[in-house]
């Protein structure tokens, strides 16, 4: 491995706008992109803004676009990228910039509040115990691995290209809704909301979200498509519609 590499990092201007600036720094075996950014911060650019917490791929804070791909900086090893050319590091482009690599992701927190919360059924024992089989929660647990890095939101063209922030909740919150819908102790119904409020129809299953998920959640196949099927069954299936009309 080379012992120095150049990182082309996005820096914002105080008044708005920004541009790339090159920083060359020492690199070594086993380093990740976030290490390089930290080294640059400590030695060359103390005011460089970067959001991070755990540095272990568990908190989902250090999302960015490395050489144009949405990644967690802490899980992107330098030996997995080409260091002969400058490595570009820029913020997630779907969200408004705050400073340098930090973006304003507050929209996501607002959207979550709009998803109908869990409504638990009565426990199976007076002490609050629920009896639930492991096979009935395997899928739910897959969804609950989500670390809320919002890379799936960043890459989704409905948000990124078409800016449907008011009509579409994005892959992260389909996963969130799906884990509630499939939780065996939940008794709420979110199917109408998926169609009317969440804009699930906008998703045309390009699976970009699945590809960038650092937790390898099958977002499209396991969460979005089953939710779409529930919407179709309820609202578009001729037999069901007839039954609804007769009732």
């Amino acid at each position: 491995m080379k012992d120095r590499a150049t990182f082309r990092i996005w820096r914002t201007q105080p008044g708005g706008g920004g541009g790339f600036r090159d920083y060359t720094t020492a690199v070594s075996d086993g380093m990740v992109v976030l290490d390089a950014v930290h080294r640059i911060q400590a030695e060359q650019a103390p005011d460089l803004a970067v959001r991070w917490n755990c540095k272990a791929g568990k908190c989902g804070s250090c999302s960015a676009e490395v050489n144009g791909r949405p990644r967690l900086m802490c899980m992107t090893r330098l030996n997995s990228i080409d260091l002969d050319a400058p490595v570009t590091v820029e913020p997630m482009r779907t969200f408004p910039p705050i400073k340098d690599l930090v973006t304003d992701v507050s929209w996501n927190f607002k959207v979550k509040k709009g998803v109908r919360k869990i409504t638990p059924r009565k426990p199976d024992a007076p002490d609050g115990t629920y009896r639930v089989a492991q096979r009935d929660v395997d899928r739910v647990q897959e969804f609950r691995k989500c670390i809320e890095c919002f890379l799936c939101q960043d890459v989704c063209h409905v948000l990124r290209e078409h800016a449907k922030f008011d009509e579409f909740i994005g892959p992260r919150f389909f996963v969130y809704a799906a884990q509630l819908e499939m939780n065996p102790i939940d008794s709420a119904d979110r199917v109408r909301d998926m169609k009317e409020k969440a804009g699930i129809g906008y998703c045309n299953i390009t699976k970009c979200c699945t590809k960038v998920c650092p937790e390898h959640i099958h977002i499209t196949d396991n969460a979005i498509i089953p939710l779409k099927e529930r919407v179709v069954d309820r609202f578009y299936d001729p037999v069901t519609r007839l039954l609804h009309m007769l009732r």
Binding site: Q41, P123, Q134
Partner: protein, 605 residues
């Protein structure tokens, strides 16, 4: 004040990890107004990194378990330095706190009969840790976070508190800045709950995230609160040692719970060589019995790898220092060997320890189902912290409460794995409940705006010194280096005196820290401000550790390697004395009621 906006709440919670969120939920449910300040985005706090599980004597996997066994385990693990009232409350209330999480959306792993599955962990007699694979912390924080946002608590994300303000000796409010713009905000509150977690960032090798800078401990200390047990620092035996950039990153005890064994470079399972007398009756006599224990055999005793963390960490330290370590200065932790015992071992490991598999694969290019991991001790947890009342979690300052890692008492000289997540929900709830009760009983306190003005001015001084001042990052690195080398796992008087001298130099250097640029999201500035708390914590650890001239739990002294009975009845207490700085004194541990003594006696066999 022109420079600051003001918010007013009945209860203000500082910190949004497990304890802070649980406190906010309880306070909000009781009908008072609640503000929640967190240093990061919601859901990113260090709790998210907890892996193994939360300890609660539900008895789902072994019906011999109950609160008495859990209480006795916690006290034994803490070398009887614990606040016994907290250990009792914790053992009794943890099962309800865990079960209620399911109604809020948590989805735990299940037993074959559909109940919450519980796993073995070091120092726990029976399988006791409710868990979700090896990402239990994520499950806890997400559940509490999602529950909180529907309750009407106001969340102030990416805000850092720099000063705690009192009114007539009682908690009155805080001064904070927001990261995004670097603006200052005043928060007035009748009751304040500190839930700021630990201070791992005082050490070079730590499992803690950047936020662990001892903010609550520093704020409380400067406001005049008492700290106790600061000498008891937990070094987790198994942190990653390679690559260097992740040195210290946690490798869950769950690996050993699932049958992982520790070996030195000679291939020897060295943990069998040194088993403390008080644990001998509960420890396996050979490898075969240890393996059976990890597979749920109720007649087997636990393998020595699952002895308490302080002991295991010291054994690893000894192997490395004796030249029997691995190439990168650790020892080997081997889970791959279980393929000799289990069919489909590879799949089994991936299912039981998914994050560990992922972590080593992605960060170290190592497949844990095939090769042993290299691990070594890492600073993990502060047993010490702010002194609180066992029932209410109120500190020695009226209206100021503390819960979770920043508070002290439940763990004594050494914490058992799994007791931290349950601590957060048991005492987070209590802090929320009693803070709300306290807030309902008093009027609105008055904020001293000139004190706030002073605090703000002080926090901006580093900008005036500009780039000619001390580099905050270098100062932090020097502090971490000193604490790691001089006040680490094995301590001596001479080294700690040296550390104390250095800390005084660091404090002096801190007054010269300089930075340039704007206040918006300025990491250098944040580091400079965090350092003030890290310096308080480092000094408190060092001074307390010098005073405790014995070895006990997380505190091991080469010059006093034995336990001393006289130190078994006192806690070290640290307090700021006007014009004299930091003072350490000894406070007697209150005598334990007879019924609790009896519980401990019953569990000794």
């Amino acid at each position: 004040m022109a420079s600051a906006t003001t918010y007013t709440y009945d209860v203000l919670v500082i910190g949004a990890g497990g304890a802070g969120l649980r406190a906010a939920i309880e306070a909000a449910n009781s009908g008072v107004t609640v503000g929640l300040i967190c240093k990061s985005l919601l859901g990113k706090a260090h709790t998210v990194m907890a892996e193994g599980g939360m300890a609660a004597a539900m008895g789902n996997n072994d019906d011999r378990d109950n609160w008495k066994v859990h209480f006795a385990d916690t006290m034994r693990g803490g070398q009887y330095m614990n606040n016994w009232r907290m250990a009792e409350i914790h053992a009794k209330e943890a099962p309800d706190r865990v079960r209620e999480l399911e109604g809020w959306g948590a989805v735990f792993d299940r037993t074959p009969d559909g109940r919450i599955n519980q796993r073995n962990f070091g120092g726990h007699r029976y399988p006791r840790l409710a868990h979700v694979g090896d990402r239990t912390g994520l499950e806890l924080i997400r559940t509490l976070q999602d529950h909180t946002v529907y309750l009407g608590a106001t969340v102030h994300m990416e805000h850092t508190v720099i000063e705690l303000m009192l009114d007539g000796g009682k908690a009155a409010g805080v001064v904070a800045y927001d990261r995004e713009r670097g603006r200052f905000h005043l928060f007035a509150a009748k009751a304040i709950i500190l839930a700021t977690g630990g201070a791992g960032r005082a050490y070079k090798v730590t499992s803690n995230s950047w936020e662990g800078t001892g903010d609550g401990i520093g704020l409380a200390y400067r406001a005049g609160a008492e700290l106790i047990d600061m000498e008891f620092v937990q070094f987790h035996p198994t942190g990653m040692v390679w690559p260097p950039s992740v040195r210290g990153l946690l490798v869950t005890e769950g690996v050993r719970g699932e049958g992982g064994v520790l070996k030195n470079s000679e291939g020897r399972r060295f943990m069998f060589d040194d088993i403390p007398d008080n644990y001998k009756p509960q420890t396996a006599s050979d490898a075969e019995e240890g393996w059976r224990y990890t597979q749920g055999d109720k007649n087997a005793r636990r393998p020595p790898e699952l002895l308490t963390r302080d002991h295991v960490a010291r054994c690893i330290n000894r192997e490395v220092k004796s030249g029997r370590g691995s190439p990168h200065g650790g020892v080997y932790l081997d889970i791959a060997w279980i393929k000799e015992k289990l069919p489909h071992a590879e799949e089994h490991i991936k299912r039981k320890l998914p994050s560990m598999y992922h972590q080593f694969k992605e960060l170290a290019d190592l497949d844990i189902t095939k090769e042993p991991m290299e691990i070594g001790p890492t600073m993990h947890y502060m047993m010490g912290g702010i002194r609180v009342d066992g029932d209410s979690q109120m500190t020695t300052i009226p209206g100021l409460f503390a819960a979770g890692e920043c508070a002290s008492g439940i763990n004594g000289a050494n914490r058992l794995g799994g007791n931290s997540l349950s601590d957060l929900i048991v005492f987070g709830k209590r802090a929320g409940e009693f803070a709300a009760q306290y807030a309902r009983g008093i009027g609105q306190p008055r904020l001293d705006e000139s004190a706030a003005e002073r605090a703000i001015k002080e926090s901006l001084a580093a900008f005036e010194r500009g780039s000619h001042g001390e580099n905050p990052y270098s100062l932090q690195q020097d502090l971490q280096e000193s604490m790691n080398n001089l006040v680490g796992i094995v301590r001596t008087e001479a080294e700690m005196q040296e550390a104390l001298g250095k800390i005084q130099q660091f404090q002096e250097r801190w007054t010269r820290v300089g930075i340039e640029g704007h206040r918006e999201y300025h990491s250098g500035w944040h580091t400079a401000l965090d350092l003030r708390n890290l310096l308080v914590v480092s000094e408190a650890i060092t001074r307390s550790a010098i005073e405790r001239k014995e070895s006990r739990g997380g505190h091991f002294r080469e010059d006093y390697p034995e336990k001393v009975a006289a130190f078994g009845t006192i806690n070290m207490m640290v307090k700021q004395v006007p014009d004299r700085g930091m003072a350490v004194s000894r406070v007697p541990i209150p005598p334990m009621p007879d019924e609790l003594k009896q519980v401990i006696e019953e569990q000794k066999t």
